[in-house]
Assembly symmetry: C2
Homo-oligomer: 499 residues x 2
């Protein structure tokens, strides 16, 4: 094991390894606020990359951004019964609007509100209320609005990025004049999410529909993209909901159609969150720390100048700056390369290890000897830590983009292979039990089975800590028998443990 | 008066004119949540432009973004006495973490928290708490972090963009190893704000220091940029605070210096908010609605195709698209031109007025006749609504950037002239009273006077509804006498009514 590696390793203790990777990459840490994290600059820079690219893609498909209030009046929240049922247990409630002296040298809440407010756990309710004012005629439809915001769900068991009381996300909320268009929107977004997560985060995902018990509260259909982590568990990486007319009825979103008839609109909602960063970490990172695909890395290349005397320093730094300028002129995936020179006065090995743990794709070590020989020595984060590659300076320049391409593809392929190796077709309940009970010896992953979609079946799986992840889309099966009930079905479901 | 103009006009009723401009440009509206607004797509697009440009400039000066929790534990808030005093009266307080049935078919708060939380009115306290963990040695300094976030101050009298309970902003929080560096940071940011607001929003501002009674709770010095609106009132457009060691002491941000001595850090904080949009509106808009400077306009050019028959339609649209493509290739102020074709099936005059009210700098009307003659007919938003300009197509292409330059400069110059015309040197308290009591006949604006900076003086001005806006920076005066006390002073203060 590397002297500077993460302890424990993935094999030794996966959850603790995850915490260590996050901490040593300086991505985030827990705050004094229950269940809420601080996203530190390196972690936030990853979120900014996600925001930038996803935002461009959402705008290219006709969506615009807007901003709705953080607080939701209790009376608004109550209008969609299933929805409120789903969120009531985990709402932060605002009841007062000022603080006064408590007579003991401290402060206490004062100015009780006539009606309490809830901090948005999601915004269907407040946005539905506004849409009902904005929509009169079919001409006002579709509305294709997205919001980048913080939301809050009072979670009891929290983990950095994966499950926190407050998190950052985007939530799209659209309204349409007919069911078909709304369904198309739901699936268009699902495709957009898949492409984004696979192309940019290099995380292979399966598109599917959620079973009834995993559906979003108030939705008609919930679609999702599910990824596999390196411990075989599933991570829901994004969801897209077809809400039918449920929210339009609850919030009175009505329009007169081309025939002058009053109709309820058809709505959708969809979102991805800072949870994606958790998935990204667990998909690619290794026992040395974070590994970032070049498309999402805040810096793709870090240059580490190496020198002893002051005289060397100037020459080396001048060369590094020239190198940085030349690289930054290169376009890769329609953006300028992101290159950073680490000039801190730190011991070289320490610096190197900091960037390994931060997951930067390419590390360039530039010393006087490299200058003299006009050679670039570099390390790829997807290879062994000590595998040093030397290329003539102009060769490196010519190949930099190709190397990044190769890394992006390699990381995706590795994750895809891992998923294939840990996905198993399962034909009986006995086999199913054995597959998931075996966890400690061999890694269980996704179980693909003929199965019916009923809450009763899923209730039976709680002991195994397994849940239905999704009914994969676009896969045709001949008929088989449900492994739980023996009934005939042509439907397969993916089951797994999950985050 | 134009048939479609805003009623009332600025002269008739300035506050109501403002509301109408905001509403008719579709920028924002009030929500069912007390004092909170919905920022609609056109308004949010302006905020996104502000974010993009300001963010680039903050990063170029070495700042990085991060994200801290929305909630602040009451006990953390209490640690800086003056600070909490300043915000206690307007805090949204979270006291419960779930909802249960109230037995009357509704819901009520449940799960009382051991310690209440406050929704951040600003984040010095929670960020200070984190910095105390992060800072050990002088090597950990400076910390130059910015956050884009929502904040909440429970306001009793609210106005769209200018004063809302929830608003969006950026808040910078930096920590330094010595006072000098922290002071420099405070003023560097003040300069950055001035340049941004003047260059991009075309709003002339005066840099100054706040008097004691207008200082940020807990700050040693508060600096600001003050703008003048078209009703002569001042608008504080941004602030930058030198916090000295006050927060470092309250939150225990200590480091060992190069000599190994333990010291408290020196901190700063600074912010601008969605309030800037209110200032932007009130600086440039006219009796026809919003006027946007080209640098901040989400679209700089809107193309309105005009046709009668289907056959014309195709030709006209093809030409418009070609025009759009060519224009979008042009760089202006280092960015591609932003050009939109409005293809909606709406009557031409109505479309045209919508874009007038949305403040788009250039409107191009393209019909079959223009095509035939290869002429571009356009209107500038900073000129009379009916002033149509015709240019040969290639001439327009060659001149588009110059026209935008000219508009940007023209809007700034007009605002600057307005401010000059409504700024008066005042030499006695009688003159001062007359200046501000005269409001109804002649517009009063900024009064520049020799004055001491004491809370007692400012208390005397409350009847006039006037306050000290700032002590302008970088202006040398000979000595004079305070117009309120007669005492000798070399200090001049700007007084005004304000938002």
């Amino acid at each position: 094991m590397q002297k500077n590696a993460i302890t424990p390793s993935r094999e030794e203790n996966y959850p603790e390894w995850y915490q260590q990777v996050v901490g040593q990459a300086d991505l985030a840490e827990m705050s004094p606020v229950r269940g809420c994290m601080v996203i530190k600059p390196w972690g936030y820079a990853i979120w900014e990359r996600i925001q930038k690219i996803l935002d461009e893609r959402l705008k290219a498909t006709g969506h615009v951004n807007a901003y709705f209030p953080l607080l939701i009046p209790l009376s608004q929240l109550e209008k969609e019964a299933k929805h409120i049922e789903g969120f009531a247990k985990e709402c932060a409630v605002v009841t007062h609007h000022r603080l006064i002296a408590d007579g003991k040298g401290g402060l206490k809440p004062d100015g009780e509100l006539e009606e309490p407010y809830v901090i948005r756990p999601t915004s269907e309710t407040i946005i539905g209320t506004m849409y009902s004012k904005w929509v009169q005629s079919y001409r006002d439809l579709p509305i294709l609005i997205n919001q980048w915001a913080n939301v809050m769900r009072w979670e009891m068991r929290t983990r950095l990025f994966l499950r926190t009381s407050e998190f950052l996300w985007q939530e799209g909320h659209t309204a349409h004049a007919n069911a078909l268009e709304a369904k198309e929107e739901t699936l268009t977004i699902l495709d957009l999410y898949q492409k984004f997560v696979e192309d940019i985060l290099a995380m292979p995902v399966i598109k599917g529909e959620k079973t009834e018990s995993e559906r979003f509260p108030g939705a008609v259909n919930t679609y999702c993209i599910e990824a596999m982590m390196q411990d075989g568990k599933a991570l829901q990486a994004g969801t897209s909901h077809f809400l039918g007319q449920n929210f339009a009825k609850g919030y009175d979103i009505q329009f007169s159609d081309q025939q002058g008839q009053l109709q309820h609109a058809w709505t959708t909602s969809w979102g991805v969150s800072t949870r994606l960063i958790g998935g990204l970490i667990m998909t690619h990172s290794d026992d040395n720390g974070l590994v970032l695909p070049p498309s999402i890395a805040p810096y793709q290349i870090v240059i580490l100048p190496i020198y002893r005397q002051e005289e060397e320093r100037e020459k080396v730094l001048a060369f590094c700056k020239m190198l940085q300028e030349q690289l930054q002129k290169q376009l890769w995936q329609d953006e300028r390369l992101r290159v950073y020179i680490d000039q801190r006065d730190l011991q070289g090995g320490e610096k190197n290890w900091q960037w390994i743990k931060k997951g930067v794709p390419l590390r360039l070590e530039i010393g006087p000897r490299d200058l003299a020989q006009n050679v670039i020595s570099f390390y790829r984060r997807d290879q062994e830590v000590k595998t040093r590659i030397n290329l003539a300076s102009d060769e490196f320049m010519a190949q930099a983009s190709d190397i990044l391409d190769e890394m992006q593809v390699h990381l995706f392929k590795t994750a895809q292979d891992f998923r294939s190796q840990h996905t198993q077709e399962i034909n009986s309940f006995e086999e199913f039990q054995a597959y998931f009970q075996n966890q400690k010896d061999t890694l269980s992953g996704f179980a693909l089975c003929y199965a019916l979609d009923t809450p009763e079946i899923e209730a039976r799986l709680k002991d195994l800590k397994v849940s239905a992840r999704c009914i994969p889309l676009g896969v045709e099966h001949s008929e088989g028998r449900c492994i739980f009930t023996g009934e005939k079905t042509a439907q397969k479901i993916i089951f797994a443990r999950s985050y």
